[in-house]
Symmetry: D2
Subunit: 348 residues, 4 copies
């Protein structure tokens, strides 16, 4: 492993510490590695060592190249300085990806508390988006961001369709960063159809980092599950990025989007409601829908359910799912899908 401290901004005391592992040789199952940028917390006043190297070690063991970003804090924390630090770091890593044997499109960020605010900023509003984000008891709400650094932005409202897959964890009893910072961000991810996983543990203090005895006092009251996020997040990254295989990474385990309403072409994975707004799609679907709805209503005996509820339900369901409920043959769905994929999505 090569470790190097790269100064990104001398005046603001911003550094990127790289931990680069070898490939090939005794690691002949690995030709390139994914990477992760660790962003420690500290209320935008400092960068906590407890959320730096202990975190790095976990991902190093998992085979990642790791970078610790010590960003602008204290008097230098005026926005967008910290975000600019991130942009500079990600640009640097991607520009040196070949030299460091890093997959350019498999670079995650992980941030804690205020560092989680910065990691979530990277995920939602940066030019150089990360490919996955792990957010630990992250600040996301405007009032709390501003209590840390008065120029820092709200992030719940920043979630957009290009936000990367996110993994969130926190403890419900966090008295420093109230749990709404997690739950409201999750709601925004849901609304924007962004892939995520989340773990809200029953109790534990703010700032528990990796939750091991190596970073916590013995008498700290914390759920014994709170430390599971470490191995869980590593497994999650394997799903999002793929796992080490035989030279190259294996295929990722799932498609991030649940519905394809935002894709360039329509498909059977768009919602009925979305498809029906397009005249071409409507023409294709109408004869099919009639039979399908009859089939469904017949199965479920929905005669007593308010029509508007059924319509709302159908409207939010994808063509593929509705067909599944109605027992429509796969061939028919594939045929509709093929027709729909020739229609450009006019909303984009």
């Amino acid at each position: 492993m090569d470790r190097e401290v790269i100064v990104l901004n001398e005046e603001r005391n911003v550094t990127l510490t790289s931990y680069i592992q070898p490939v090939g040789g005794k690691f002949d199952n690995i030709s390139k590695r994914p990477a992760i940028i660790v962003i420690p917390g500290g209320a935008y006043q400092y960068c906590s060592d407890r959320e730096a190297e202990p975190v790095a070690f976990a991902y190093l063991k998992a085979g990642y190249n790791v970078f610790i970003l010590r960003y602008s804090v204290g008097v230098h924390a005026t926005w967008p300085n910290p975000l600019s630090d991130y942009e500079q770091a990600m640009e640097l890593i991607r520009s040196r990806a070949d030299e460091w044997n890093i997959y350019k499109d498999k670079i995650a960020v992980i941030g804690f508390s205020a560092g989680g605010h910065l990691a979530a900023s990277a995920a939602t509003m940066s030019k150089n988006r990360p490919n996955a984000a792990i957010l630990g008891y992250a600040v996301t709400l405007e009032y709390l961001a501003k209590i840390c650094e008065h120029t820092a932005p709200d992030l719940v409202s920043a979630v957009d369709k290009d936000t990367c897959p996110c993994f969130l964890f926190s403890t419900r009893t966090d008295r420093t960063v109230p749990i709404e910072n997690t739950t409201k961000f999750i709601s925004a991810l849901v609304e924007h159809n962004i892939a995520f996983e989340s773990h809200i543990y029953s109790f534990g203090p703010h700032g528990f980092s990796i939750g091991d005895s190596s970073v916590l006092k013995q008498d700290v009251e914390i759920s014994n599950r709170a430390k599971n996020w470490v191995s869980d997040s590593i497994e999650w990254l394997k799903e999002v990025f793929g796992d080490f295989g035989d030279g190259d990474l294996t295929k990722p385990k799932y498609r991030p989007r649940l519905v394809d309403d935002g894709e360039e072409y329509l498909s059977a994975d768009c919602t009925i409601g979305y498809l029906m707004k397009n005249q071409d799609a409507r023409n294709i679907l109408l004869p099919f829908m009639k039979n399908t709805m009859e089939a469904i209503e017949d199965i479920r005996k929905w005669e007593k359910v308010d029509k508007s509820i059924i319509e709302s339900f159908v409207s939010k369901t994808t063509l593929r799912n509705l067909s599944g409920m109605a027992g429509v043959a796969d061939e028919i769905v594939e045929d509709l899908d093929k027709q729909l994929r020739q229609i450009k999505n006019q909303d984009l």
Copy 2:
């Protein structure tokens, strides 16, 4: 173990199957047991065996007495029939608690899908509230409840201050019960200051039950973390109820409430905003607050932060937490707490 099928309602085909374990003898660390009522899913059309005994075995191994409730479904599912079935079951269990060596106040419910809807109904709107609720990919939103059974109520709006601690799990890609059913219920719990834990796994199908090979086909696409809810929920119940000890259960691991704004008497665990609305509390706090706020503002250099943000922040923070941030001595806080505890909460 004694297993018995108790008919609760012959006409509606409602049964409660009891699995009662012995105490004493070779189980001399146990004099009574906590219990759990398992409520299988099935869209209010049937009760799924896959969400019945496999679940029961997990809690039996953990030392619980278990009951499986097969409630009113199909033509009998008109509301409030299923909830009445639950009420009848819980009344029966509590009335026979001595005979069965069950702690009357340590009885949980666990429900899946539509059974999760019923378990969440028990948690939020029943007369005989359970002491904890585990909700697996539960239906909670009105439109979806009504799609299952047109008379079933919305549950997000039903969360109240007496809702029991909840443990929620689901997969984000559930195409039958969309993830909003979990996230919106969580938001309601947060709003009402109810203790909870939640795990939303990255991907997996609806109805995965305990997530073992014993209930899933080999090629089902599901995150390898999705089955962790079983052992996690058992550990969580140990926190909420206490663990088997030396005859009696040990002390629960945490206080469910984060703030005590709803308690009978005021205290240092109420929020500043709540305390300030009470004239007596206000008189006690004002001299203290002045010093504390100066201390805090001095520490955090908040001169640039908008006053309204700080006020909002302080207003939502408990007296105990604010004192911690300001470095106020414990004795002073204890003294204030003692004074506040003599003031009755006029809002109740």
Copy 3:
């Protein structure tokens, strides 16, 4: 689940309690189930409830059909009564396997302490051998067996070539059944080339059963790893028996034998020493061996190693492994293997 107490021997108070789970329907991934016979401990004086149903629940959850065997104890424990009880139980289960939807050749035993002695007897000396055996802090040494029941046999010397795969666990500080009972049995398994897995945990008392709070007092001093045998043994059984798949079980994960010296025909998986004792095999191998040994000696620069050590090493190595060390092409090994497989093993 159907639970039934079957009386095997009224006079000796021997019973077999069956816990039979359904197949098909909502368990449509399962057409038949593997099974396990639980044999509680109790020094051949009684059958401990703590090692009966809590164990059964774990395997029931994993999808097994379970039987608890309460065998001859106290005045009835004279050998071979307990073993006869086992034989009777296994015969009964196999004879009713179709009715109970059980795989006849996927029936394990699990025994604890003296029950472990009986389970190990089943594994090594019964007529109706089980297909896998899990031995928990089992008595295997003659002196200790006789201290429990003066007619009970030594089991270390009973291990034979037909002994089934074994999974052993115990704590090194067990003061009732000293750890030699585990280690000497393992050595006998090694000597007879029998598949096994073993976990000896650092410390813990005798009789800890599933190691959960549901069976242990709070202040018991025991390693936090000691309870891992439960899930580990379930995973191990999946390797030995295969896992639930799509109707039928999947293929087992590994071949139990390391070397095939005892098989009906010779092969490349026999040791060189064994092959060389057969004149036909010798003729096939000699030209090959000369080149191979030269290749190996060249690679490893063994000129200084005592010839007898190399000969002993080669003699104990299989043809396939030696070829691997010498970098022999796979085709050549496959060709030798094909020739050897036509030679009958004359030792049998």
Copy 4:
């Protein structure tokens, strides 16, 4: 973390790479750290990178200071060169322990394959013994040691009363280092009353290191439990060394010795057989033994058991355990213990 490559022997290319973590500051629960020396394998021909840093990262995350020892291999591997390298490394670490904030008496070794041979040499025959040893699929038998390096010694016969607590793991199907290397070493530990924990996994290849996808090809056939040794060994070290607490480490979790026959003074934790050989102890025990034996024989109805078996059993049992079986009051045992502790052990 400070990383430094320290040259121990330039001619033989021996280095010690140190990874030293900070104490105090944000690690205010830590004033000093335990340490571990990682010794990679490679048949005494090279040092495998796959068993170096990936292992180091695991213990770094757990809070340890870590050293990787690259010892004499190939032409330099003539014994005792590798052991001398170890001695030099351990001397250096202990001499700089204050500077590096390391507990002098909490320094473990971990070795793999041939590196496991060197780690086991350190544990059994070095001048500067480690305080714990983790042995991964280690070579311990003479013939195999000599196949690697013809001057390397047998280690099974080297186990002595000063051997440190050991944690062993391997896979039963290891075709390079046969499982006897593990089982025979364990037997020697048992014979010498040395504390240990061991995990022999059902199947997997030689050299699987930490068993993660970061060091293994995707299609490697290995039990899914084989990687558990990493976290298990960390938990085991917490038992042996104590865990991070509030500045200092907590108390170790167990006493390594089962019986105190080798201690300076006699006690109730010596075996009856050992005590009876000492005339003073004999005088104290005889009146007590008579009653106790009668009590035991009465309880267990041992009239039919061969006298010599009972005598052998009693002889190997400690006074404390025998008293427990006979139901002797604790006060009586404590009184005997006090008397025995005044008798010097004449065998030492």
